[in-house]
């Protein structure tokens, strides 16, 4: 088998990253200009005048200010993570697994991470487990392979056998090798910058309602309008960011599946892990409230629907079919297994029939 060309993939990831940043800047510029115009119109003009007149200079000045705030917040978010995968994992409620663990599930997981690091020719990332999550999922984070961390959910450890867990960890290792984790960090920061607009609009609206109670009606109309404008445009911006993010993410998932198989030289493990997501009731769902922010980092769809403009992952069946062309959901022996059997078989593998 020919060696997999990471360099070209990384080059493509970097290219995509540049295009993405440009698209984000254009979007932020448009939103800022609209907001600038809105604020200038309501605050600059005479409130008693019949018609609102728009002065371009203050509008642009305000727009530039807003842009600076959005970009600043995005940068702050990116820098505050410092590219440290372990911090992202911890913020999503994951706990580190250390060498001295006595738990056979965790010991095996740690071994698998080490094996995949050797297969990928990268340093071993720190390994984490997201406790209490019953769904089968995993994610990788980190600005560089040296600072990377891999996390899997409790459900993944309890429901996947060694071969399937290897497939999942290989997929995450592939995200690290292809520099997807760095791209993801940036995406997270950018969307956060736009969330700030929406949040401040909310705050403004609430305070204007409060002011209305205190004093008379005068002067609250512009604030109300600006607050609404912030909410609407902020929301649009977040939606736009999400669509961008999701489109990129869906592409990178197929690539990570392929790279993962290059590492293990075995598509069955990954295919079966995906089938088990479809076979279990919890699927790949993640409950953690921060999961929404990081949904494009997971192994499979963590929140929301499985199809459409906002889904961060390709449809499950399509991913399985790419690995196992004969897959038929109605008759597949793994896909039609129940939760109980899957849990029992995994325990059986580790502890034997009497464990």
């Amino acid at each position: 088998m020919a060696a997999f060309d990471f360099r070209a993939q990384q080059e493509r990831a970097r290219h995509l990253s540049v295009v993405l940043v440009l698209a984000f800047i254009v979007m932020v510029a448009i939103i800022s200009l609209l907001l600038g115009a809105l604020i200038a119109a309501f605050l600059g003009g005479d409130p008693t005048a019949r018609e609102i007149r728009l002065e371009p200079a203050p509008a642009i000045a305000i727009a530039l200010g807003i842009m600076a705030v959005i970009v600043g917040v995005a940068l702050f978010k990116i820098v505050s993570f410092g590219g440290d995968g372990a911090r992202v994992a911890t913020s999503l409620g994951a706990e580190e697994v250390t060498e001295d663990t006595q738990n056979p599930f965790k010991k095996r997981y740690l071994n698998v991470v080490e094996e995949m690091a050797i297969a990928a020719g990268l340093p071993r990332p720190r390994a984490f487990v997201v406790k209490h999550e019953q769904g089968i999922n995993a994610f990788a984070a980190g600005g560089s392979p040296e600072k990377a961390a891999i996390s899997v959910t409790h459900g993944a450890l309890a429901k996947l056998n060694r071969q399937e867990l290897t497939g999942v960890v290989a997929h995450e290792m592939a995200h690290i090798a292809n520099h997807d984790t760095r791209l993801n960090m940036r995406l997270m920061g950018m969307v956060f910058g736009l969330v700030i607009l929406y949040t401040s609009g909310h705050a403004l609206l609430r305070s204007s309602i409060f002011m209305r109670r205190g004093r008379g009606n005068r002067g609250t109309v512009p604030i109300l309008a600006i607050g609404l404008g912030l909410i609407v445009l902020g929301l649009l911006g977040v939606l736009g960011g999400r669509i961008l993010q999701s489109a990129v993410s869906r592409r990178r998932e197929y690539l990570a599946d392929a790279t993962g198989v290059q590492f293990t030289r075995n598509p069955t493990g990954l295919a079966n892990a995906l089938k088990k997501i479809g076979a279990t009731t919890a699927g790949s769902h993640v409950d953690n409230s921060h999961a929404e922010e990081a949904r494009h980092m997971f192994f499979a769809q963590a929140t929301g629907s499985f199809a459409g403009l906002f889904s961060t992952h390709p449809p499950l069946h399509d991913r399985v079919r790419a690995l196992d062309p004969q897959f038929n959901p109605a008759t597949d022996p793994i896909y039609t297994k129940g939760d109980k059997r899957i849990l029992r078989e995994t325990r059986h593998e580790l502890f034997g029939p009497w464990g």
Partner: protein, 196 residues
């Protein structure tokens, strides 16, 4: 003027040779690094085996011969591993190591097959831990070997192809041996098989 042109040609030639030479050095370092990783994992494998034998001895009373053969194969493989030192890539050393590790792998496979007949052993927590550690070690060896063979292939290609083969011949860059284990099939399947 002519002197200048001659000088320029010489400088260009030397530069060309230097670039090719440096590429060969880079490729050589890559396979040596890759072998270091195999070495770590083989050491781990060899360290685990005496402990494993110690653990199963009490249960597998009728398999004395197999256990002794495992220990013997382990000692031989360890000897070859230690002797390699600076001979990384030497075709003869690589094939010796491959044979010894292959034989050891075959015997381990037999040991685990025989363990099926001892339910007490299979139920012991200690044995299960060994199974996991050994499975992981087999996988690590397999992946590290893959990396070494990939790096070795890239190096050999450079040694054989024009124009770097002239530089390789002049400066003594020799073709190296790949690391293949005798029981190739068992080992290549190792990532898929748990000893269950």
């Amino acid at each position: 003027m002519e002197l200048l042109i001659i000088l320029l040609v010489i400088v260009a030639l030397v530069g060309f040779v230097a670039v090719l030479y440096n590429r060969l050095v880079g490729l050589r370092n890559a396979y040596i690094n890759a072998f270091a990783q195999i070495d770590v994992q083989l050491k781990r494998r060899h360290d685990l085996i005496p402990q494993l034998v110690e653990t199963v001895k009490g249960y597998m009373k009728h398999e004395r011969e197999t256990l002794e053969a495992v220990i013997q194969a382990r000692n031989q493989a360890e000897q070859i591993r230690e002797a390699i030192g600076n001979a990384v890539g030497d075709p003869q050393a690589m094939s010796q190591l491959g044979q010894a590790e292959g034989a050891l792998g075959g015997l381990l496979g037999r040991l685990f097959a025989l363990s099926e007949a001892y339910p007490d052993l299979k139920a012991s927590e200690n044995f299960r831990q060994f199974q996991e550690e050994l499975t992981s070690t087999e996988n690590r060896v397999a992946y590290a070997r893959q990396a070494y063979n990939d790096a070795g292939m890239a190096y050999n290609n450079a040694v054989q192809s024009v124009p770097s083969n002239f530089i390789a011949n002049t400066f003594g860059f020799r073709e190296i041996g790949m690391l293949e284990f005798e029981d190739r099939e068992v080992i290549q399947q190792a990532p898929r098989v748990s000893f269950d």
